[in-house]
Assembly symmetry: C2
Homo-oligomer: 134 residues x 2
DNA sequence: TTATGTGCAAAACATTTGCAGGAGT
DNA sequence: ACTCCTGCAAATGTTTTGCACATAA
């Protein structure tokens, strides 16, 4: 989990990490591609996917397996939960305490070796609530 | 949420529902397709997708947006949580009490209108634990 | 210098959709 | 009859991969 183990510090890697760090919006790979392309116009989408995957594997970033058709990425690796707008698909952090004790409950209830958990709320975001008013 | 509202009771629909009801394994669309094809060899994969989608929309079945690349489907619509094997991708139910109160916490913490929540544990299933021993 | 990474394009998957013919009600 | 539904195949969207060249260490 140290930073960038076994990995060269390439320009592409660096800029992907920087751009992901700038936003709180949990972008998809394609959105990261768009952000990065403004600074590195010749970068390939494949490179973005490869790097996001590698960075997630080494724990530098988080790969979110939330609802919807695309994976999303998050520069914040500390445990936290998410809420996803059922209307527009946007994903935000939700600041409620991490429920460590439910992993004990899970351990009691299951023969799996428990590694972790994630809570995803679904709801309607502010701007979709607005739009729904007319 | 009543059963099959606004929907014709076609053979395909009926058998998809029956087959999904037989298993507790949260199959993917493709797995449902394989199950159903044994009884209806000429059914199309598109039909399976269309019906799973429709049945999920009307609340007759559950569409699980869990980790992994494929959506999974569940004949049990009562709220419950899942655990996914980090190794083989298998998804099982996990029988811990539904944490209703965290939706109140979420309501306090977010400007979203909260609709629901889901908890997904990750772990290593029995048979993958076995395999890991050698 | 050499293993790792990149750009590009093609391939691989998962899912959706258009359409002409078929079947519930 | 009159919709709604199906099978088929093609299209779409997302992610992965092969390969020749480039580059960080």
């Amino acid at each position: 989990m140290e930073s960038l183990p076994n990995m060269r510090l390439t320009t592409q890697r660096q800029i992907i990490l920087e751009e992901l760090g700038k936003v709180t919006s949990h972008p998809t790979a394609n959105e990261v591609y768009d952000m990065v392309r403004k600074r590195l116009p010749r970068i390939g989408l494949g490179t973005v996917y490869r790097n996001l995957e590698l960075l997630a594997e080494s724990g530098v970033i988080l790969k979110l397996e939330v609802g919807g058709t695309q994976k999303r990425f998050d520069a914040t690796v500390e445990p936290h939960y998410h809420i996803r707008c059922a209307q527009c698909g946007k994903v935000d952090d939700i600041e409620i305490p991490v429920q460590e004790q439910i992993e004990d409950a899970a351990h009691q209830a299951s023969s799996y070796e428990i590694l972790g958990h994630h809570i995803e709320f679904s709801g309607i975001c502010n701007s979709c609530q607005q739009k729904g008013m007319n």
